[in-house]
Amino acid sequence: MSGTAPATAPGTVPAPSPPAAARTVEATKVYGAGATAVVALDEVSVAFDAGRFTAIMGPSGSGKSTLMHCVAGLDSLTEGQVFLGDVELGTLSDKELTLLRRDRVGFVFQAFNLVPTLTARENIELPDRLAGRAPAAGWLDEVVRTVGLGDRLSHRPAELSGGQQQRVAVARALAGRPDIVFADEPTGNLDSRSGAELLGFLRRAVDEMGQTVVMVTHDPVAASVADSALFLADGRIVDRTESPTVAAVLDRMSSLGG
């Protein structure tokens, strides 16, 4: 991860000062075919800078989740390219994609998506264990401390509150020291206090641990925690706001009809 990305599509991406953790080049995603085809992403070119917290915003159906899924290697593009670091995802097989997700990407989902049979600690260590490697103890302690789970580690998900479950999910996403963490409406199922706490953890992961976080949300409060906010509508990026405030985001969203 050194130097700038090769200029595969000059002019479309402004050369970022910190290297991009992930970027897309004219990413297009079409669902279905013929008359019923729906364009979810329309030649989107965007870079997610390393060490920064980016929020993707937009009304329902704007393509924000699709964008995230494609960048995260969960879905494939119809046209265009996605790079995670230097790796172009379109060239990877299903297995290579899986291993890439396991080793370099972290996920936080709206519906916490923990494995119910595993304890909190086991859930956190899951990606490392799947890879058959021992979790880095020091790092793990730091992560657990950051999300404040110390005394709940031996509990199963069913014994944890929603906020605690989501903190486990965040810890799991961070545990493998991923190049980038994707969070899909992470506060969607939480009350406002738990949601605020969670956003705090994600913020600290960026500020104190140098992580890169990309978060899809339609909550202006959540977006205001990010370093920058991207606005999507009809599969295109329509705006980008640095250091967004709740008011600015609300203003922008209402103009988009979200």
């Binding site: 879905d75 297995k95 291993l99 996920f107 998506n113 119910p116 049979t117 799947l130 890879a131």
Partner: protein
């Protein structure tokens, strides 16, 4: 409600198909068995009735000793008496008895169950059930006609010369081939026909007596009338029976010796398959219903009463049951054909003929299938109706996963009481088989009830190697098997029952073998045994005499089998020279002396002839040494036999031992089943064997074996039986495995989102497959291991109980090797059962899986 049920069924057609398959297979097996039984009976009935259609009356000895026991002879001069009676068109003397044909390879033809018959060729074509298909009728000088199947099995053809053992070897030349009706034989019966005089000499061993007289009536005379007319002139001890009655007897004989046994045997295994199917269905319904708990709660919230919820599930079960039973019925007819083919391939010759499906068969199959499905769905249906309406609104997992206290208590109570009863009954005195059965059922029920309690620690233990070897994938597999102990146990229960039966048979068979081996080891004093094979057959008593005369041999004792009526019941007898027998076979005489039995009365003193009985026979009849018992033989004569000795060990000679010189005068063909040979001092067994084999060659070459070989021969029958049992149990195991596959599929459906998550965070498809297979492996191993444990325990109890009840089994053998194979096979089968669900799980689309609610 009905339309909702139907829509539900359509939506979950795939899951229901998995359930139905268990019912289909079970019903197919049951129907197949019933159809096969009816078909065979009808085929045999048609064949025999048709072949004997023109025989109106049979004149024969009146004393009936039952199955396959020859009757006494009748005077040949009666033929003229009968022929002179008004209404008799033809009266022809018939000789029929034992005759073993030797094939071109020097081996006996047939002899694996069906009788080997030799007799006279009936010259009147209408009286003869056999028809000459090729060649000509025998005219004397050892000319014979052989039924076609026997000829082809023995590699014989017209013009060939071979040996017929009657049981003395007779050189015969085949001059014709016959069919029974239009079939190549009457099942697997071998039939060799000589000319009448030859047959009288060699088989009836008499120049003035025959086995029976076959009579054909004039056209306008009824069978009953003619039988009455003939009966009026017959001497005492001879009867005239209508041809129709004789044909019915023949059909009944086949039914009771073979068909009923076969049908009962198969029905037992169909029952086991259905039992296993019931567990499978119950489990599937439990899962389906649990998955729909929220829907049931919603219905309740919207105002459905409990009964409606129960009825909805019951209706679904009913429809599944009816559809699956109908499919099973249709498949069963196919299975019958398949079974018939299987038995044909195994060497049972069954008559050809159409498949017979009776209304009774159809109703039974349908009823059993529907009832089994309904019964299996009852508990889940009631459970579904008990769900609180609030569960629809609350986000709760409604399926109870952990065992309740009541279950633990009930299970411990049932299993404990069952096991205790089984142990006490097994070790108790007398015939406790029924009690052991009750104990066994209680134990099995208790084990099933306790399954969920045992599932957690068992899965922990069995999953440990997987967790250690496969890392996280193994841990997940184990955790998945652990997450719902009720379900794991329910799934494993089907396999447990199947494997328990397999283990029970394995243990029992190996104990039978070990007991046989021990008997031979302990009681056989001889060095060599000449035997006609595991199914018996006939050896001429002359063989024992000639072998006894060899310089290499000290003593040769023949043991024959016979039957007689004792106090009105037919009893099996062993025939031997008791004084000689004692020197080569240890029967543990408990009172009196075998040496005193030979000859009428004690040496030099006139008095009644004597026999020996086993302690058990003596005890159950209240006899002791010195008592005199009247015994009626096949020729109708009764002799008072004094009990001269009692003995303890009856596994070779059975309940009655009768001296040969008492038996021989009443028997037409005196036959040895085996000859025990003691080599002379200083003669190597190998040398004695060579000499004995040379003699045996002249008597059709029965097997000459040392004790180990003899033991092996005696146990081959056990192994063969066990083989057939394994094949029949395979279906039950298959149903159980399908249950595992079905449960896993349902579980995967349930865990779609979780699987999606695992894939999202980096579980490879290969790891997903390994995880699902691992879960399957844990469940299957749990089922197989508990089944083996259960089977081992019940097998031990059965061996003990049978041993006490009959004195037949003394040894409990633990077949470690075979049981290890069963366990390994269970594990492998578990992995196989997991293959398809594993593939489906690995194929899940990650995004779609995550999005699933």
């Amino acid at each position: 409600m009905l339309s909702l049920t139907l829509r539900e069924m359509r939506a979950h057609a795939r899951r229901l198909a998995g359930t139905s398959l268990a019912v289909v297979l079970g019903v197919a097996f049951l129907t197949g068995t019933l159809v096969l039984g009816a078909t065979l009976r009808s085929n045999f009935d048609d064949l025999i009735t048709e072949a004997n259609a023109s025989t109106d009356v049979v004149v024969r000895g009146a004393t009936d000793l039952g199955l396959n026991q020859p009757r006494g002879l009748v005077d040949r001069s009666l033929v003229d008496t009968v022929a002179a009676i008004d209404g008799v068109a033809v009266a022809e003397p018939v000789v029929s008895g034992f005759g073993q044909l030797i094939g071109s390879d020097g081996e006996a033809v047939g002899g694996n169950g069906p009788p080997q018959i030799a007799g006279s060729w009936t010259t009147d074509p209408e009286l003869n059930p056999y028809r000459l298909a090729e060649g000509r009728a025998p005219e004397g000088d050892g000319e014979v006609v052989v039924n076609r199947r026997a000829a082809s099995e023995g590699g014989l053809d017209i013009g060939d010369t071979t040996t017929l053992l009657t049981p003395e070897p007779v050189e015969v030349t085949i001059v014709g081939l016959a069919t029974f009706g239009d079939q190549d034989g009457l099942g697997g019966v071998t039939f060799t026909a000589l000319a009448l005089d030859d047959a009288m000499t060699h088989i009836a061993k008499s120049d003035d007596a025959v086995s029976s007289i076959a009579v054909r009536a004039d056209d306008d005379v009824a069978q009953d009338d003619l039988a009455d007319r003939i009966g009026a002139v017959l001497p005492a001890g001879v009867e005239a029976t209508t041809g129709a009655a004789v044909a019915d007897e023949a059909v009944d004989d086949i039914a009771s010796t073979f068909l009923d046994m076969l049908t009962t045997f198969l029905t037992v295994f169909a029952g086991i398959a259905l039992l296993v199917a019931t567990f499978s269905i119950h489990n599937t319904f439990s899962i389906i219903v649990a998955q729909r708990t929220r829907q049931a709660a919603l219905l309740r919230a919207l105002g459905a009463v409990r009964g409606q919820v129960v009825r909805a599930v019951a209706t679904e079960a009913l429809l599944v049951g009816v559809l699956a039973s109908l499919a099973g019925l249709a498949a069963g007819v196919g299975v019958a054909g398949l079974l018939k083919g299987l038995f044909d391939a195994a060497g049972f010759a069954l008559p050809a003929g159409g498949i017979v499906v009776t209304a009774g068969t159809a109703v039974t199959g349908l009823l059993v299938g529907v009832l089994v499905t309904l019964a299996a769905s009852l508990v889940p249906a009631v459970r579904a109706s008990r769900v609180a309406p609030l569960a629809a609104i609350r986000e709760v997992a409604a399926e109870r996963t952990s065992p309740g206290r009541a279950r633990v208590a009930a299970g411990v109570l049932l299993a404990g009481a069952g096991a205790a009863l089984t142990v006490v009954a097994a070790l108790g005195d007398g015939d406790m088989l029924a009690l052991v059965g009750v104990g066994a059922v209680l134990t099995v029920v208790g084990a099933v009830v306790l399954g969920p309690v045992a599932a957690r620690p068992a899965a922990q233990l069995l999953g440990a190697p997987a967790a250690r070897l496969r890392g996280m994938t193994g841990v997940l597999a184990r955790q998945n098997a652990l997450r719902n102990p009720r379900r794991t146990a329910g799934t494993a229960a089907a396999l447990m029952v199947g494997v328990a039966v397999v283990s029970l048979f394995t243990v029992f068979a190996s104990s039978v073998k070990a007991s046989l081996e021990r008997t031979i080891e302990r009681s056989f004093g001889g060095d060599l045994v000449v035997s006609a094979g595991p199914f018996g057959g006939g050896i001429s008593p002359e063989l024992a005499a000639e072998v006894g005369d060899l310089p290499e041999v000290d003593l040769a004792v023949g043991i024959g089998q016979g039957a007689a009526q004792v106090e009105g019941d037919t009893k099996q007898l062993s025939i031997a020279d008791p004084a000689d027998l004692e020197r080569v076979l240890d029967v543990d005489v408990s009172d009196g002396s075998l040496a005193d039995l030979s000859g009428p009365g004690a040496p030099g003193q006139p008095g009644p002839a004597a026999m020996a009985v086993s302690d058990e026979t003596a005890e159950s009849n209240g006899w002791e040494v010195g008592d005199v018992v009247p015994v009626t033989f096949a020729d109708g004569r009764t002799e008072d036999l004094a009990i001269g000795a009692t003995y303890e060990t009856d596994d070779v000679v059975g309940g009655y031992l009768v001296p040969r010189d008492v038996w021989a005068p009443h028997s037409v063909q005196d036959v040895d089943a085996l000859v025990i040979v003691d080599a002379a001092d200083g003669v190597a067994t190998a040398d004695a064997r060579q000499a004995v084999t040379a003699v045996a060659e002249r008597f059709g070459g029965p097997d000459v074996e040392d004790r180990e070989e003899f033991a092996a021969t005696m146990t081959t029958g056990v192994d063969m039986m066990l083989g057939i049992v394994y094949v029949l149990l395979a279906l039950a195991i298959l149903i159980a495995l399908m249950g595992i596959a079905n449960t896993l599929s349902l579980a995967i459906h349930e865990r779609t989102r979780e699987l999606g998550l695992l894939r999202a965070v980096g579980q490879t498809r290969r790891q997903v497959r390994a995880m699902v297979r691992g879960e399957s492996l844990v469940i299957a191993t749990f089922g197989a291991a508990s089944g083996i444990g259960l089977g081992l325990f019940l097998g031990w109890a059965l061996v003990q109980a049978v041993g006490t009840a009959t004195g037949g089994l003394g040894v409990f053998a633990l077949p470690v090797g075979p049981l290890a194979i069963v366990l390994a096979a269970g594990a492998v089968a578990g992995v196989l059962a997991g293959l398809r669900p594993a593939r489906r799980a690995a194929r899940l689309d990650v995004l779609a899986a995550i999005a699933t609610e």
